[in-house]
Structure formats: C-alpha cells, structure tokens
C-alpha cells in the first residue's frame, strides 16, 4: 500500500519521539517556511572547528517535516562538515528522485534512518516537507562558517 511507503515506522517513531528538539545556543540561526503549506522551522547550528557540534531546532509541521528534522539531528551532529555535506547532498538527491531512485547499500550506510524517506519522494507536495530542515541546516551552516571566519 502506498501509505506505508511514505509513513515508514522509522518516520513515525522519529515524529513521536523527536531527537534534539528545542533551541540551544548556536553560531547561526535561520527561519525557513514552506509557503505551500505553512510549515515553519527555526534552526541553529553550532560548529566546533570543522565539526557539527549541535543542530537545535523548533517548529511546526507535519510528521514528515518533524521526523526529517529529528533524523537530521541524529545523523549530522558530531559529523565532520565535509561528511555532513555529503549526507545532505545525498538526501537531497534521493528526495528529488520522484521515487525513481532505489537506495543501494552505500546510500543506506550513509543515510541510515534517512533512507526511510525514499517513499516520500514520490509525493511532490511532501518533498518540500522532508527537505525543510535540511535546507535550513545548509543555510545556517554557511552563515555559521562566515561568522567564524569573520570572528
């Protein structure tokens, strides 16, 4: 059934028990909205040298956007920036695949829980939900780096 391909148990678990939710100190903060549905997220990134020290967030949205932020936190915190970027880009590629990309082992190793979103990529209206926190993270990280350099 279509529905289960979107609402994987992993996603529902993250939705019900989100990781790292709440705003903590960071080097940069961004606010992103999804104009097509009104989902919103405020997200902060704290860097420690070239390591993602923390990603904290707060927002409102559907199970997909909430679970996606939780997965992001779990996946990226503690990673080297280069590795985190590679994960973000791979996730983006998966989500834009319109359901035509079957994650292989390498991708599964890289994305861990985030592969569960593969089914969401078939639903154009929901892809933006899944990407909301990831796009926010990308921008916040860029800002945080500029701040660090300026400091």
């Amino acid at each position: 059934m279509r529905l289960e391909s979107m609402y994987q148990d992993v996603i529902l678990d993250h939705y019900k028990n989100p990781h790292g939710r709440g705003l903590r100190p960071g080097d940069a903060e961004v606010h992103h909205v999804n104009p097509t549905c009104g989902d919103e997220i405020t997200l902060r990134v704290r860097l420690d040298g070239s390591t993602v020290a923390d990603v904290s967030y707060e927002g409102q949205g559907c199970s997909i956007s909430q679970a996606s932020a939780s997965v992001l936190n779990e996946l990226l915190v503690g990673k080297e920036l280069a590795e985190a970027r590679r994960i973000q880009e791979t996730f983006l590629e998966l989500m834009q695949s319109k359901g035509r990309l079957e994650p292989d082992d390498a991708m599964e190793d890289l994305l861990e829980d985030a592969v569960a979103f593969a089914g969401v990529s078939k639903y154009p209206a929901r892809v933006k939900c899944a990407l909301l926190s990831w796009m926010a993270w990308k921008e916040a990280t860029a800002q945080a780096q500029v701040h660090k350099e300026a400091a």
Partner: protein, 426 residues
C-alpha cells in the same frame, strides 16, 4: 430531483438528486489508487466542470473562434456575439442593472487588484492616499489582503481590519471606530473560504456608505453556491471567479456600479480598452472595455456563460438548500469524531459549505495524506488565509467543502476516513 435517500431516517431534506447531477461531471467517475472511488471534497479550492461547459468551449473553438470586436468577417462576428452573450448571461445571473457593469478578468485576484489599483490612481473623491484608510477583515483570502497591503505601502494609506470572535465571526463591536470618515474603501468576503462564515453585509455597507467609503465584496465563495444579487447586496463592487462555479480556469468577474466605472481610471493599458491612440496620448473606451486590455478570455467567457446556464437550470436556491442540508448533516457527523475541533461556526446558520477542522494534534498534512489514500480529496494548509490560523493559534486546518454534486454518502466516507486517520496515527 430529490435524493432517493432523502426520505431515509437521519438524512436531511432538501437534497438534490446528486446521482443524476454527477453524470454531468466526467471526472467524478474517476477511480484512484487501485479501486478507490474519488470523493471530491475540495470544492472551495476549485469546482469540477460539467460536460455542458466543456462542450460549449469545444464548439466555440471548433466552429467559431476568432479574435473579437474588430472583425467584419463571420467568425469574428460570431465570436464577438458569443463573448458578449456570455456577458449578458453573467449580468443576468448576478442581477446587474446593466451588462456594461460586468468586467471579465482572469480570476478573482485580478478583480480585487483591479479595484485597488483604480483607487490608487483615481482622482478625488475616490483616491486612496496618505491620510486615508482602507478597511478589510482578518478572515480575508490572501487575494483580498495583499493588494491592499501593496496599495497601503505605495500610497501611505493606513490598512485597518475587523478581528474575529472565538466563534469564527467578524467582531463588529467597534465598527464605528474602524470605519471612519477617513475610510475610502471597505473590502470583505461574503463567505470565508476557510471558516465558512457568511458575513453580515447590510451592517457593514450601511456604515461604509454613511462615511462615504466604497464597498468591495469578495463573492468568490458565494457566487457558486447561492443566489447572488448585486443590487440587493448594495455594494459598489463585487468580485468572483469562474473556476469555483463550474466554469473554466482563466476567467474572473468584477461587477462595478456604472458611475464608478465611468469615473475611475483604467488599470491595464492596451488593445480593446482604447477609444483612440496617438503616440502622445490616448482616450479610453467606455466600461466594460476600458478595463479589458488585450485579447479577452473569449473561450473562458463562453464556458462561464455555459456554467451559469447550468447552475441556473438547476436553480441557485435549490443548490443553496442542498448545501445547507449537507452542511448541517456534516457538522452533526463530524461532531461524532473524537478530538475533532471545528474552526469556524459550529452550526449551519449563516455559513457556507466549507468546513475547517483540526484533529487532535495530527497535522493536517498527515490527515490529508491518509484521506487521499482512501480517495478522499480535501485541502490542508492555511487555505490562503494565514491570518486566520494565526488568530486561532493553529498551524493549519483540514478543510472539506461541498458542492451541488456532493452526496451524504461522501460525508459518511469522510467521517469513516477520519476514523482511519486516527487509528493510523494512534
């Protein structure tokens, strides 16, 4: 033409024979997701189109198409007659005193922007500028908010609005303080697309005219569903849109009082709207042409004409009665769903057939997705009325909205669907 089920216990009287009506709408036969029948409850966003409307447009293109107004050849004459004939039909449908008061636009949004722009460029006494005020309400569709924000920014006028009561109605308690001698225009929706609320026209029009302000009524959610009599409303302008009333996309209507259309300046410039052009200056054609620059939506006007014929053939009063009965039934059935909270009036009095609600803390996106899986099409989000969501402290709503072809069985399907949603996220 009453529903066979209408006599059964628990089902409301006044329903139309939806089985017969549905035969006119090809899309309603669609089957989704391996065998689920389409239950289309997204009519406030856009209605479906009967075969009669599609046929009228096809015949137009296959037999009569040409550009209008300027031709001496047969096709141009026929196209002009069909286009202007559609104007006659729409004028009759809204009881306009004159056909020349009916302007065809591309959608309701353009109609609303047209008035805002006219007033920004108008001479006294209509001119909106700094020192003057614009009044709207907190339940407007974005298309009746943003044009006024732009006008206020660009002219220095002040934008004010009526707030909402907890029941989803306009708070008119301070009407004399909101509509003042400085008010130039009061623009409000007749029926809210998110709350379903039917607003009290007379009280607002009386106060606005008392202070010499013009009144624009956004009838986008009213024209499809009940008798719309612009003379009875007493407003100065009325806007609505074709695609929500069985017509095609790409056409809207602005009705305006004749003297105003004469006095107010044009908006878009170009072919069709001129009297005579030289490089140094131009004069403009009389209304409605003054406000219809360029090749108009000819086929779309023909389609809208067929749509109002279709609706009138069934009877707008009967359509209103059907929807009222269905709304009453739906509100009662939705009350059975645990944790469901209606956003907007909770009874069928003074309201339209769009019902917004929240379901516990399940996000509307998720509600909509799981309903879709069962073939049930509802809309989720802020419905282009984000201030209403802010007002009620909710991120979004799920909205089910009915039309002349909606049956009580579809309401039942919705209620069953919502139970399934609850179980799914339980």
């Amino acid at each position: 033409m009453t529903d066979a089920r209408a006599g059964l216990p628990g089902l409301p009287a006044g329903l139309l024979d939806t089985e017969a009506i549905r035969k006119d709408f090809p899309i309603l036969d669609r089957v989704l997701h391996d065998g689920k029948k389409l239950v289309y409850l997204d009519n406030a966003a856009s209605s479906q189109k009967p075969r009669q409307v599609l046929d009228a447009m096809n015949t137009y293109y296959e037999r009569h198409h040409a550009n209008v107004h300027r031709g001496v050849h047969v096709l141009a004459e026929e196209a002009t007659e069909l286009y202007e004939g559609a104007r006659d039909k729409v004028a009759a449908f809204i009881n306009a005193p004159s056909r020349d008061e009916v302007i065809f636009t591309k959608n309701a949004s353009e109609s609303l922007n047209l008035v805002a722009n006219m007033l920004g460029w108008a001479d006294e006494p209509y001119r909106v500028d700094s020192g003057t005020e614009i009044v709207i309400t907190e339940m407007e569709h974005h298309s009746n908010i943003v044009p006024w924000q732009l006008l206020a920014q660009r002219t220095g006028a002040r934008l004010k609005w009526f707030g909402l009561t907890d029941e989803g109605r306009l708070d008119l308690s301070t009407i004399d303080g909101i509509i003042t001698e400085r008010t130039k225009i009061v623009s409000f929706t007749l029926v809210s697309n998110i709350l379903g609320t039917l607003n009290p026209v007379r009280e607002i029009v009386r106060r606005a005219h008392e202070v010499g302000a013009l009144v624009l009524i956004d009838a986008s959610q009213a024209a499809p569903h009940a008798v719309l009599d612009v003379q009875d409303l007493g407003a100065d302008f009325v806007a609505f849109t074709g695609h929500k009333m069985c017509g095609p996309t790409g056409i809207g209507v602005l009705w305006g009082r004749h003297e105003l259309l004469e006095d107010l300046p044009p908006f878009l410039g170009g072919g069709e709207m001129i009297e005579t052009v030289s490089m140094n200056s131009s004069t403009y054609a009389p209304a409605p042409h003054k406000f219809e620059a360029g090749t108009p939506p000819i086929a779309q006007a023909v389609g809208l004409g067929a749509a109002v014929d279709y609706l009138s053939g069934i009877g707008m009063d009967r359509i209103a009665a059907h929807e009222h009965a269905l709304t009453e039934y739906a509100l009662a059935r939705l009350a059975e769903v645990p944790e469901l909270r209606i956003i907007g009036p909770a009874t069928a009095e003074d309201r339209g057939a769009a019902i917004s609600f929240t379901l516990g803390d399940i996000h509307p996106h998720d509600v909509g997705q799981v309903l879709d899986e069962q073939g049930i099409a509802v809309r989720v989000g802020h419905h282009c009325a984000r201030p209403v969501c802010l007002r009620y402290g909710i991120p979004a709503t799920t909205r089910a909205s009915f039309y002349l072809y909606t049956s009580p069985a579809e309401v039942d399907a919705l209620v069953d669907g919502l139970e399934y949603v609850r179980r799914f996220f339980g």
